[in-house]
Assembly symmetry: C2
Homo-oligomer: 391 residues x 2
Amino acid sequence: MLNFNFQNPTKINFGEGQIKIISKEIPLDARVLLVYGGGSIKGNGVYKQVIDALSEHTWFEFSGIEPNPTYDTLMKAQEIIKRENIDYLLAVGGGSVVDGAKFIAAAALYEGKSNDECNDPWDILAKNVPVTKALPIGAVLTLPATGSESNGNSVVTRDGNKLPFNSPLVCPLFAVLDPTVTLSLSDRQISNGVVDAFIHTIEQYLTYSVNGKVQDRFSEGLLQTLIEEGPKALLPDTKENLEVRANIMWSATMALNGLIGAGVPQDWSTHMIGHELTGAFGIDHARTLSIVLPAVMKVRKEQKREKLLQYATRVWQITDGDDNARINQAIRLTEEFFETMQVPTRLSHVDLGSKDIDLLIERLEQHGMTALGENNDITLDISREILTQAL
Amino acid sequence: MLNFNFQNPTKINFGEGQIKIISKEIPLDARVLLVYGGGSIKGNGVYKQVIDALSEHTWFEFSGIEPNPTYDTLMKAQEIIKRENIDYLLAVGGGSVVDGAKFIAAAALYEGKSNDECNDPWDILAKNVPVTKALPIGAVLTLPATGSESNGNSVVTRDGNKLPFNSPLVCPLFAVLDPTVTLSLSDRQISNGVVDAFIHTIEQYLTYSVNGKVQDRFSEGLLQTLIEEGPKALLPDTKENLEVRANIMWSATMALNGLIGAGVPQDWSTHMIGHELTGAFGIDHARTLSIVLPAVMKVRKEQKREKLLQYATRVWQITDGDDNARINQAIRLTEEFFETMQVPTRLSHVDLGSKDIDLLIERLEQHGMTALGENNDITLDISREILTQAL
């Protein structure tokens, strides 16, 4: 096990009927900005539950945060924050809304650097300017997927450039996870969420072994839960089952709250390559991952051999065949799981081909993604090999 | 899954050489009381590492906290706290020292109730007076076992009465877990720690199913890790292996930091009955648990049937035989694991017999332990049956 420092202070309020707890979680004297997306929360009753809970608070609202939230949209929130002296953000939505709220929170109190070159909050992402202050955030999660409700990670897009930042200062103070809220999601949203959580786990698991037994067992438990419960959330007979929804929701949070990645190597090459697919072609985040991951597994088979074998045995219970056969079978079952979840596993499934790879490689280079993976040895050439494998 | 609220703010600093981090974790203007036990930390180098890290802090010390810390000992710390205006406690030791520091922290700022009847900090335990203020606590863990370094639980003994209390206000702000520190522990201390962590997990797992898949997979992962790594920490060839120590240490923390118990029923009857064995006869905490648990499994076989079968299959990989045979085999393997860990599994192993049961039942009654277990249906009569089964 590697040395690590781990802290996750987010208070989780999990279960049916928990939205009302925000009345107690947010100080009564706060000036709250309710931040949300396209308005689906008005159709499914979440908006009403939230404003009922805020009946004794002073609150305003900012809507229109899109999937893969953009800098341009998020910066528009600054005007109401200044005008109304907002001092608390309540994000109500999925990972994009929570990610967006994090950037809004950091941008609101952005001080830049002492020189004049970094006076735009975008520099937090583009030039790694550290966040030194941020508005407090609470989250009501409507789409289990990114774990953003209890971590300090955020991804924002500007002019087709999709970049991440991280700060403990933007980690939500509390999160409400009510699985009933997810019943109104579309199949596509549920699929994307399950696949996203699955691949978050894989990024922290499928590297090389450091004998972190607790972390490995926890990751395998999350993967197995998502493999078992994910498809049920798409089948007519089981899709309304609240236990299925609860297990998916809690898995997605645990997949990226920092715990399973503490003390073990992490990969994230699938994510970094996937971000370029979203940035350049607008493909759903999870669907970029389900295209890239199988190719990463194939191209990095030797480097990930030990963990791929462990994955085959412990997650898929594959015991027959030699090492290569077991690894190939595990990759095949991973692809089949993605297919059951109705997400693409090839670039051709989203109408991309070899002609598009140059642009993706160019973008990776532009964004400094020239040494990816747990060993920082996935060069641009290897990324090209991965994308070619994914054709 | 049941509804739950979960938060664990303790910052974990894990790994070799992490003790020096306390110089940064504790504010420089704090007046620190270093709290420890019998002085073993002076023999194994931990004390020196701690005071080196505190070289720029103002600090005092209070030692002599015993295993199963007593009210009388802990109250002696109040004098130096008042005299030196202590405002930060640094607990350096195992679960008893951390538990003791928690009571000291709460007692230092105890206000009692408005009436005069609860003006003794003991009333926090004896009369459930809530903790409203406490000194901040940091912990350097030397014995992985209780999880006390990242939870709000404490157990204190007074006149043979061993009682628990809990408050988020006494949860350590940070904990240092350096597995090298555990190399100087005796076999008995390691055994006790592994068995304690194992049974903490069992208390939150072996109840009835609420289909909490994440919690169940995490618990099974901890149990398997302790079953695999525990014995290695006693064998000459592997006992110095740091990876073994690290896996045990992280398992013990995760076993009782609240995570695996969030959203699932909890038992704790083994602990409550075990506490009386310690209180009345001075038996090591973990050794009371290894005596009581197998008897609880046998007496509550019907109530715990579904989870016992899951435990047999998923933790012990037992697939042969009918339900009863698989359950009996799982209980037998649990006893054998305890025997490998060199702890007793019968009252007779600690020279107790049927003549001692009356006193234990009397104590349980005195302490209000008349409806134990996940269904509050373990009456005094059933506790007697359990103790008789354990003879």
